[in-house]
């Protein structure tokens, strides 16, 4: 901001110079536009020529053409080789969003946990976390993805599967097989109870705040709400008579039938993305908490606030302003890094649509354009959120 004013000052330097400078600026910009235009014309001309010569199709008609290849992972919608490339796009997009979403959740929990451990007064614990963070951050993510994938593929074959909890969970090189939940009558009450609990906890938090303002009495809001959010759905589950069955996997012939198979491609990618990003997030969290000066803690304690309240009322609100922006950009990085799926064949948008579809149709320009557009949209959404947040919480300074 200060720089802009500096440049405005430059612009209004002297009246005699002004017209001259404006002319120079106009001339320079015209030159830039001219060069860029010429460059574009050059590229468009070459591209048109090359496309014609190589007999590549143009346009987006291929989105309606049959893809003709299989995709191993499509948890959200039916997909077979007869579906269109447009469908491939959707399957890939959802797979990208799936692994990114789950990765963000895991990375956040792990990262915050590690960041707090890093600040632990216990020297040994803090050192162990430090080593983990340094090691993870300084090895390329692609390598970590490959390593996890290699580890999952090195698991025993189907016949020698590792089974846990009485054959309920089965682990082999084809993936992790867990029972498929089959909700029965009345199960709907459980999610309903969860939603109710969420509303109730919001209500309780507000009520507690109001009561505190009026009478000064402090209620254990966090504990109560946690109990409610966990307890209410459980209660509903018990009252309706545990209406949940599981379809267990069984070995039939050479493979397991039934159950939900979580493929090693997904697990490897999810592990690697979460562990890698968690290392960065833990540093962000550490830096954020350390950015709050020690004087704040001292002032708060001198006023008689307990350490836990000091954390909640003084340190965290200030640290969050520092933490949230780099944290969102880590989320963005994770989403972009999920495109490394292509290295191990997890069918995200880059592997399926940007990879196989591109090779089959040869329509590189359209395919890459669409793929990039997806990431750009996600980026814009996230950075839009970040700007909104920054404006909301920025400290008022003199």
């Amino acid at each position: 901001m200060s720089a802009e004013t500096a440049q405005n000052a430059r612009g209004s330097g002297g009246a005699s110079l002004f017209s001259d400078q404006r002319f120079r600026s106009l001339f320079f910009q015209a030159l830039v536009i001219g060069l860029l235009g010429a460059f574009l014309v050059f590229i468009v001309y070459n591209t048109a020529h090359n496309i014609e010569k190589r007999g590549i199709q143009t346009g987006f008609a291929f989105l309606d053409a049959a893809a003709g290849y299989d995709i191993a992972i499509s948890p959200f919608m039916e997909y077979t080789a007869t579906h269109t490339h447009g469908r491939v796009f959707l399957v890939g997009l959802f797979n990208t969003l799936l692994v990114s979403f789950l990765g963000i959740i895991a990375a956040t929990f792990l990262g915050v946990f590690l960041g707090v451990l890093r600040l632990s007064p216990n020297w040994l614990v803090s050192r162990i976390v430090y080593c983990y963070v340094e090691f993870t951050r300084n090895v390329p993510l692609l390598l970590q993805i490959l390593l996890w994938y290699a580890i999952f593929l090195a698991l025993p074959a189907v016949k020698q599967s590792i089974t846990m909890f009485n054959d309920i969970i089965i682990l082999n090189k084809r993936g992790l097989i867990v029972p498929e939940p089959l909700p029965g009558d009345g199960f709907m009450l459980v999610p309903v109870a969860l939603v109710l609990a969420l509303f109730a906890s919001i209500f309780f938090a507000r009520w507690a705040k109001k009561t505190q303002a009026a009478t000064g009495k402090i209620y254990p809001v966090f504990m109560t709400n946690t109990a409610m959010i966990i307890g209410l759905p459980l209660l509903a589950f018990a009252v309706t008579g545990f209406p949940l069955d599981f379809a267990y996997a069984e070995l039939k012939g050479f493979n397991f039938k039934g159950g939900v198979v979580i493929k090693p491609e997904f697990t490897a990618l999810w592990f690697a993305l979460s562990l890698y990003t968690a290392a960065f997030i833990s540093e962000t969290v550490r830096a954020g908490i350390q950015s709050v000066s020690h004087g704040q803690t001292e002032a708060s304690e001198a006023l008689g606030l307990r350490p836990s309240w000091t954390m909640r009322l003084i340190i965290l609100p200030q640290a969050l302003r520092v933490i949230i922006p780099p944290m969102t950009s880590q989320y963005l990085n994770l989403t972009k890094n999920s495109s490394l799926a292509v290295a191990i064949g997890y069918p995200d948008i880059v592997q399926s649509f940007g990879g196989v579809t591109l090779n089959q149709t040869g329509q590189a320009i359209e395919v890459i354009f669409i793929t990039m557009l997806v990431y750009l949209t996600i980026s814009l959404l996230i950075s839009g959120f970040m700007n909104w947040y920054n404006n909301r919480v920025s400290l008022v300074e003199r």
Binding site: G13, V32, K53, P140, L340, V342, L358, I368
Partner: protein, 369 residues
């Protein structure tokens, strides 16, 4: 407590050592490991965890590992089978570079060290002359590696392994610095068209994953070129990597430009310097100095990201690793291969991040004084 405190005249009290257990090693242990019940439990858990992890790692990498032998069958100790690394060591270093020409990458590497040292440390004698060498080093390196004019030509297809990784990293940073500076200045320019163009370019590149840019470079770039002109795979990858890192570099440099106090800009104006003069003589030298740690961090990211070229079919360290893993002779030795590559990356990236940290500290103390 102290039953009879010895009396001293005011101002005569000597410095006494702290009571036993209040300072030194014992106090340190008490404070940092066993200060409370919870802390003690944490320490015990950590020791237990560390013991198991470390013993597993030591067993796998050293005591249970096989270092000598010919084939995979020799690896029967239960730990890692490092034979695959020995067998393919040259490939990991040079790719398919002709064996009798290894002296060329070796010499280039030594020259690279000579060229980098004066850039990294500002307290060596005759720094100016060395910097001159640093400036012309990329051309020497290119000549040495690709040949021509008396040297046997080596196709870029044959470059690989660590050599290729270094080529990509160094070219990426050398190319992205000037482009990044231009973009950063453009983004802060008061010419709306220039500014818009720079913002769009930077935000576009930063909004998409590197792999899509590499796909673009390898699939779309050939379509953009006139008939008959053909960029080889390496050049295409280099263009992608350079464009990618220049956007990030631009943001780092912009941070530096923003940190320069307004007075400096005004001062330069008051001296009657033109825009380019004030940038070159006053603003950029200061801004770049501030952002060197940021540049090093960007470079660490770039260096790690160069591994993505293995996806578009180049044989960098990971590309060679993938070939080694696919070798029937060494089937199933992926963990060993990846662990070796990870170690190479860890050493270099960790060293660089330490350097950047050191610089930051130096910079901060410099500001205080």
């Amino acid at each position: 407590m102290s039953v009879t405190e010895q009396q001293y005249a005011p101002g005569e009290h000597p410095d006494l050592p702290p009571p036993l257990g209040e300072a030194g090693l014992i106090a340190w242990f008490k404070k940092r490991l066993f200060s409370s019940v919870g802390n003690t439990i944490l320490t015990l858990v950590a020791v237990f965890f560390l013991y198991h992890v470390l013993s597993a790692i030591i067993f796998w990498t050293l005591t249970g590992a096989t270092f000598t032998g010919e084939t995979k069958a020799d690896c029967d100790l239960g730990g890692a089978c490092w034979l695959v690394i020995g067998d393919r060591f040259h490939q990991f270093m040079y790719g398919l570079y002709p064996t009798d020409q290894y002296w060329r990458p070796n010499l280039t590497f030594i020259l690279m060290v000579v060229a980098i040292v004066p850039v990294l440390f500002d307290n060596i004698p005759h720094r100016g002359k060395f910097l001159l060498f640093s400036a012309i080093f990329p051309f020497i390196a290119f000549y040495l590696l690709s040949g021509g004019w008396g040297l046997e030509t080596v196709d870029t297809d044959e470059w690989g392994g660590l050599l290729l990784t270094l080529v990509l990293g160094v070219t990426g940073i050398v190319a992205s610095l000037p482009i990044g500076i231009v973009l950063a200045l453009g983004r802060r320019s008061n010419m709306p068209i220039v500014r818009t163009l720079c913002v769009c370019f930077i935000e576009f590149i930063r909004g998409v994953p590197l792999i899509t840019i590499l796909f673009m470079a390898s699939n779309m770039l050939p379509l953009f070129l006139p008939e008959g002109v053909n960029f080889d795979k390496l050049l295409r990858a280099l263009i992608g990597v350079a464009l990618f890192s220049s956007a990030y570099m631009a943001e780092v440099i912009r941070g530096g430009l923003q940190a320069i106090p307004k007075g400096q800009y005004e001062g330069a104006d008051a001296m009657g310097l033109s825009y380019w003069q004030s940038m070159r003589l006053i603003i950029l030298p200061q801004a770049l100095r501030i952002v060197i740690p940021g540049i090093v961090n960007t470079f660490i990211g770039l260096y790690k990201d160069t591994t993505l070229v293995s996806i578009i079919g180049l044989f960098d360290l990971i590309g060679i690793g993938l070939v080694a893993v696919a070798d029937v002779k060494w089937r199933g030795l992926a963990p060993e291969t990846y662990a070796f590559i990870a170690l190479l990356f860890f050493i270099s990236c960790f060293a660089m991040s330490r350097y950047s940290l050191w610089l930051e500290n130096k910079l901060h103390t410099g500001h205080k004084r």
